[in-house]
C-alpha cells in the first residue's frame, strides 16, 4: 500500500479520535451539570 495513503489515514484517525474524545468530554460535562441541578 502507498505509505502516503497510510499517512493521510493517520491524519484522519487523529481528527476522528479528537472528535470522539470531545464528544465524551461534553457528555461528561452535561451529566455533571444535570447532577448539580
Amino acid at each position: 500500500m502507498d505509505p502516503i495513503i497510510l499517512l493521510q489515514l493517520d491524519a484522519v484517525i487523529l481528527v476522528i479520535a479528537t472528535v470522539i474524545l470531545s464528544y465524551y468530554f461534553f457528555k461528561d460535562m452535561i451529566k455533571e451539570f444535570k447532577e448539580k441541578k
Binding site: 502507498d2 499517512l7 493521510q8 491524519a11 481528527v15 479520535a17 479528537t18 474524545l21 465524551y24
Partner: protein, 476 residues
C-alpha cells in the same frame, strides 16, 4: 512579519478570547484548596487525556526542525523510545500514584522516606524542571513573527494571559483551557497533511527529493547516539505534570487507561509532525519552498500550503501547543513554592486560604523568574533543558526507589542519591559548557549527556547507602 488574512488573525484573536473566558468562568468550580490544586480529583478520562497530551508537547517548531534536519530518525528518538517509557509508567506507576492520594512528587518523597529534607530538595529540583523559560521565549518568537511585536512584548503578553486564568482558576482553569488547546493542536497538525500531499505529491515526491538517509528510520546515526537521545525519555518517570494528572484523576483506573489512550494520540500526532518536516525538506530541496531556517520550516510549509482560515487554525494550534505547557508548568512551579516548601517545610499550620494565596504569589514569582530568564539571559535558556535534566538525575532514583526498592526506605540513601546525582550531572554540564565546539555546542566528557553519569552515580549512592544504613539499623 507574516502577512495574514484578517480571517486568520480573527481565529487567533478568537482563541485568546475563548481561553480567557473559559479561564474566567472556571473559577466557579473552585470551593476549596483541593479544587484549586487538583480540580477536586475529578478528572474524567477525556479531560485527563486532553490535558496530558497537550501539556506534554511544548512546541511544534522544534520537532519540525529535527525532522527537517535529520528525517525519520526524529520519530525514533522523539517518539518510539518515549512510548515505551509511557507504557512502563501506565502499567507500573500510574494507578499506584493515584492510589497514594497525594499532591506532588515531593509529597511522594516525604511519604517514602519520612524526611523533610528529601521533600525540600525534591521541590527545588522539581521547580528547576518546570520553569517555563524556553516556552515563554517560544511564545515571544511566535508573537514577533505573527504581529511584528518586539520580543519582550510577546513574552509579556503571553505571560499575562496565562497568569490571568491560571491565577484565577488554578488547575481547573489549566485543564479546561488545555482541552481547547488540545483540539486546536490536533486539528492544526492533522490538517496540514492532506494539503502538503495535494500541493507536492505522494511518496515518490519524498523519495525523489529527500536526502538519502531522511527516510531511513535510523538516519544513519550510530546506535549509541540513538540511545543517548532516546533515553532522555526517562524524563517521563519524574515528570511533575504526569504525576499531577494522575493524582487529579477521578478514580484509580483512569490514569492507566488515560496514558494508554494518550500514547495513541502521541503516535498519530508524531507521525503527522515528522512527515510535515519531511515534506518541508523535500519541497525545499526541490526548490518549491523557501525555508528561511530549519527552525521555521514547519511554519514556512504551513504558510505555503494552507488556505485562508485553515492557516489560522494551524497557527492557533501552534500557539496552543506552547501555551498549554506554559500554564501547566507555571502552576506546578507555584505548587512547589506553596504546597511543598511554604506549607510542608516552613508553615505546617498554614490554612488552606493562606496556601492558596501563596500559590497565587508563586504563579507570579514562577512567571517572573521564567520571563526574566527568557528575556535577559537567553544563553541560560539554551542551557535550561540541560538544567532540567539535572532534576531528572537527582530525582529518578529516589522516586523509583520509593516505589520499587524492596528493602527499608532510607532517608540518608535518598538524600545521597539526590545530592550526588545532581552534583555529578552539574559538574558534567559545566565541563561541557566550558569546552564548546566550533558550532557552540557543549563537549561533554566521553560525549555523554550529563543525565546519564548523574543517574548512574545516583543509583550507586542509593544502593550503597541503603545497604549500609540497613546494616547499621540491624547492628542497633
Amino acid at each position: 512579519m507574516l502577512d495574514l488574512h484578517p480571517i486568520d488573525y480573527s481565529i487567533i484573536l478568537g482563541y485568546f478570547i475563548l481561553i480567557l473566558i473559559v479561564g474566567f468562568f472556571a473559577k466557579r468550580k473552585i470551593h476549596n484548596l483541593n479544587d484549586y490544586f487538583l480540580a477536586g480529583r475529578r478528572l474524567t478520562l477525556p479531560i485527563f487525556v486532553a490535558t496530558l497530551v497537550s501539556t506534554w508537547y511544548g512546541g511544534l517548531l522544534g520537532v519540525g526542525e529535527l525532522s527537517y534536519n535529520y528525517g525519520a530518525v526524529n520519530w525514533l528518538t522523539q517518539g518510539f523510545f518515549w512510548y515505551i517509557i509511557y507504557l512502563f509508567f501506565a502499567l507500573f506507576l500510574a494507578n499506584r500514584i493515584r492510589k497514594s492520594n497525594l499532591t506532588t512528587i515531593p509529597d511522594q518523597l516525604e511519604k517514602f522516606y519520612k524526611d523533610k529534607k528529601t521533600r525540600f530538595l525534591g521541590a527545588i529540583f522539581n521547580f528547576l524542571m518546570v520553569t517555563p523559560a524556553s516556552y515563554l521565549l517560544s511564545i515571544g518568537f511566535i508573537f514577533t513573527l505573527l504581529f511584528d511585536w518586539p520580543l519582550w512584548i510577546g513574552v509579556l503578553i503571553g505571560t499575562l494571559i496565562m497568569i490571568f486564568y491560571t491565577l484565577r482558576s488554578g488547575f481547573i482553569g489549566v485543564i479546561y483551557t488545555d482541552f481547547i488547546q488540545f483540539v486546536l493542536m490536533m486539528a492544526g497538525v492533522a490538517l496540514i497533511i492532506p494539503f502538503a500531499v495535494q500541493n507536492y505529491g505522494g511518496w515518490e515526491f519524498l523519495t525523489t527529493n529527500l536526502p538519502s538517509l531522511h527516510l531511513d528510520i535510523t538516519g544513519g546515526w550510530s546506535t549509541q547516539m540513538i540511545l543517548v537521545w532516546g533515553f532522555l525519555a526517562f524524563w517521563t518517570l519524574v515528570d511533575p505534570g504526569f504525576y499531577q494528572r494522575c493524582y487529579a484523576a477521578k478514580d484509580t483506573k483512569i490514569p492507566r487507561k488515560g496514558i494508554l489512550i494518550s500514547i495513541g494520540f502521541w503516535l498519530l500526532f508524531d507521525i503527522c509532525t515528522t512527515f510535515t518536516g519531511l515534506y518541508a525538506r523535500a519541497a525545499a530541496e526541490a526548490g518549491l519552498l523557501s525555508v528561511s531556517s530549519p527552525t521555521t520550516a514547519y511554519l514556512d510549509i504551513a504558510i505555503s500550503v494552507l488556505p485562508i482560515g485553515i492557516l489560522g487554525i494551524f497557527l492557533t494550534g501552534l500557539i496552543a501547543t506552547v501555551m498549554s505547557t506554559i500554564d501547566s508548568f507555571t502552576f506546578l512551579g507555584a505548587m512547589n513554592i506553596s504546597h511543598d516548601i511554604y506549607k510542608h517545610v516552613f508553615r505546617p499550620n498554614a490554612t488552606d486560604k493562606q496556601v492558596m494565596n501563596m500559590t497565587k504569589i508563586g504563579i507570579v514569582l514562577t512567571a517572573l523568574f521564567a520571563g526574566t530568564l527568557a528575556l535577559y539571559f537567553d544563553s541560560i535558556v539554551a542551557m535550561w533543558y540541560t538544567i532540567g535534566t539535572i532534576g531528572i538525575s537527582a530525582l529518578i532514583v529516589p522516586v523509583l526507589g520509593g516505589f520499587f526498592y524492596p528493602g527499608r526506605k532510607s532517608a540518608k540513601a535518598a538524600l545521597s542519591s539526590i545530592i550526588l546525582g545532581a552534583a555529578v550531572s552539574l559538574s558534567w554540564m559545566i565541563f561541557g559548557y566550558l569546552n564548546l565546539d566550533s558550532w557552540g555546542w557543549p563537549q561533554y566528557p566521553l560525549a555523554i549527556e550529563p543525565l546519564y553519569p548523574g543517574m548512574l552515580i545516583s543509583l550507586l549512592a542509593f544502593l550503597l547507602v541503603s545497604l549500609l544504613d540497613s546494616k547499621t539499623m540491624e547492628g542497633k
